[in-house]
Amino acid sequence: MSVAGAWRTRRQRYALVGEICPDCHRHIFPPRDVCPHCSQPAGPLHTLSGRGEVYSFTRMHHAPKGFEQQRPYAVALVKLDEGPMVTAQLTDVDLQEIHIGMRVEMVTRKLKEEGEEGQILYGYKFRPLMATGD
């Protein structure tokens, strides 16, 4: 990702800042100009809770360039409690214990290092929901 691109999307990656559609009242992530549900102009920013459950997952044995060091790692589709689904890595978890329906919460982690000269990209991953803090 370009430096400008990483800067533009920082609020999404660091804090799951999305929107609520003023017309259909559904949560949207990431923010868009047009609501994907009702096609009306999308609404004010809203920070998602970061909690949800695993809708699906995969354990990656082959990694794309820039992610080789992290292998093997798990990527999931996480269905957030407010409705939107996100694609993200799972972390702080035994890869064999991941299952569909597992409750998870967002944490901030290093996503990718782009080499000596490049930036270090941080963003959301999800870990099993801690018992405390509810």
Binding site: M1, G5, T9, Q12, R13, P30, P36, Y55, S56, F57, T58, R59, M60, H61, H62, A63, P64, K65, G66, F67, E68, Q70, Y73, V75, A76, L77, P84, M85, V86, T87, A88, Q89, I100, L111, K112, L121, G123
Partner: protein
């Protein structure tokens, strides 16, 4: 609108062509198609390609190919729609002839994927997904399909080996296709022993990284007979050409287990052609991964939701089955040079419809359907062809 027919086809063997550059690959297919149609000139050349810029540092590709093929002065442009680039280029050619603007159009699909290390090629393929919200998280293209397959198996209680039949069928057919990358059959044991790529997708669920090129020549149907030479049984008409999209990212789809764009484009195609799924004699579907075969069959009206995997048997999808699919090996065995795949599918459909499919000839093949998928299902282009 005029009717559009295919009067020439060309293809090169799919494989790892380290001795040939992308221009040579394209020339092989374009020259064969021109020879087949007995033409030395065309009004335009549309090239389907996904990765020439990112992998080869070569854009302006169609002009380079026109130049290299001796077509100086011709209109030329590259068409890109990820893995559906080939069918997108075909549709561009179809529109150009149907509209009456052009009479003779060349359509080529070409991809060169083996000049770069596999990690770079894998990362390049992932550009079909949302760069900021999918690929940035380290998910590959295989990974995205694995997310769909895992959920499918969970929701419909499907065992993993249920998908093996799609690969076995593809390889059984590819074994008799001289242009296929893997010309050998596999069995259930091969599938069971295949290493994992992104669970639950193993190597035998996946199509390979490879090089290839295919081309066709399009003309108005009312002029098709002028171009058809002795070795053809006849020209092949394009009865329908339809394209549709879905949300780019899987996580934004209404239902990640339903290929809405396949449903929309196939319904448009059925309507345009005036046929239904029951009249399709064979179906060249986009088996980049076995899960895509199941989902394609469901979304295009051949299987109920959650039951596409039940068709993975020889009785259903074999050459003499109820609905033969991937009749020349499909993406799995013929290979998946991404931007070329959509044109290979059509070349193979023409072979079937003109009785040139050899050992793999589908008996009495009169109407064939091809379907090319871009990304994890976000662009899906359907063509229906007939003699």
């Amino acid at each position: 609108m005029r009717g559009v027919s295919i009067v020439g086809i060309g293809q090169i063997p799919v494989g790892e062509h380290w001795d040939q550059s992308i221009r040579h690959l394209a020339y092989g297919a374009v020259s064969a198609a021109m020879q087949d149609a007995n033409i030395d000139r065309a009004d335009a050349l549309y090239v389907g390609n996904m990765l020439s810029g990112i992998l080869l540092g070569q854009e302006h590709l169609a002009t380079l190919i026109a130049d290299f093929c001796g077509l100086r002065g011709i209109e030329a442009a590259k068409v890109e729609a990820a893995c559906a680039s080939g069918a997108a280029a075909l549709r561009m050619g179809y529109l150009a002839v149907a509209s009456g603007l052009h009479d003779v159009v060349l359509v080529a699909g070409v991809e060169k994927m083996t000049d770069t290390p596999s990690g770079s090629t894998t990362a390049a393929l992932a550009t079909a997904a949302d760069a900021e919200y999918e690929s940035a998280h380290g998910v590959t293209f295989v990974g995205l399909n694995a997310l769909i397959m895992q959920r499918y198996m969970y929701e419909y209680d499907v065992p993993m080996e249920a998908f093996a039949g799609f690969s076995i069928n593809a390889h059984r057919n590819g074994a008799h296709n001289p242009y296929a990358m893997f010309q050998r059959p596999i069995d259930l044991e091969t599938y069971r022993n295949a290493p994992m790529v992104a669970e639950p997708i193993n190597m035998m669920d996946s199509s390979p990284i490879c090089d290839g090129a295919a081309a066709v020549v399009l003309v108005p149907t009312d002029r098709a007979r002028e171009f058809v030479t002795g070795h053809h049984r006849g020209p092949v008409r394009i009865l329908a050409s339809a394209s549709a999209t879905d949300m780019l990212a899987i996580h934004d789809r209404r239902d990640p287990l339903f290929l809405e764009a396949a449903h929309l484009s196939s319904q448009k195609a059925y309507l345009q052609a005036g046929v239904g799924p029951e009249e399709i004699d064979f179906f060249e579907l986009h088996d980049a991964f076995t899960i895509m075969s199941a989902l394609s069959l469901e979304a295009t009206g051949f299987a109920r939701r959650g039951e596409g995997w039940r068709m993975a048997t020889e009785e259903e999808i074999g050459i003499r089955g109820r609905l033969p699919i991937t009749t020349m090996g499909g993406l799995k065995s013929r290979g998946h040079p991404v931007g070329a795949t959509g044109v290979y599918q059509v070349v193979e459909a023409v072979l079937q419809l003109t009785g040139q499919a050899g050992e793999n000839q589908v008996p009495d093949a009169r109407i064939g359907m091809t379907q090319n998928i871009g990304g994890s299902g976000a662009t899906i282009i359907t063509h229906i062809l007939a003699t």
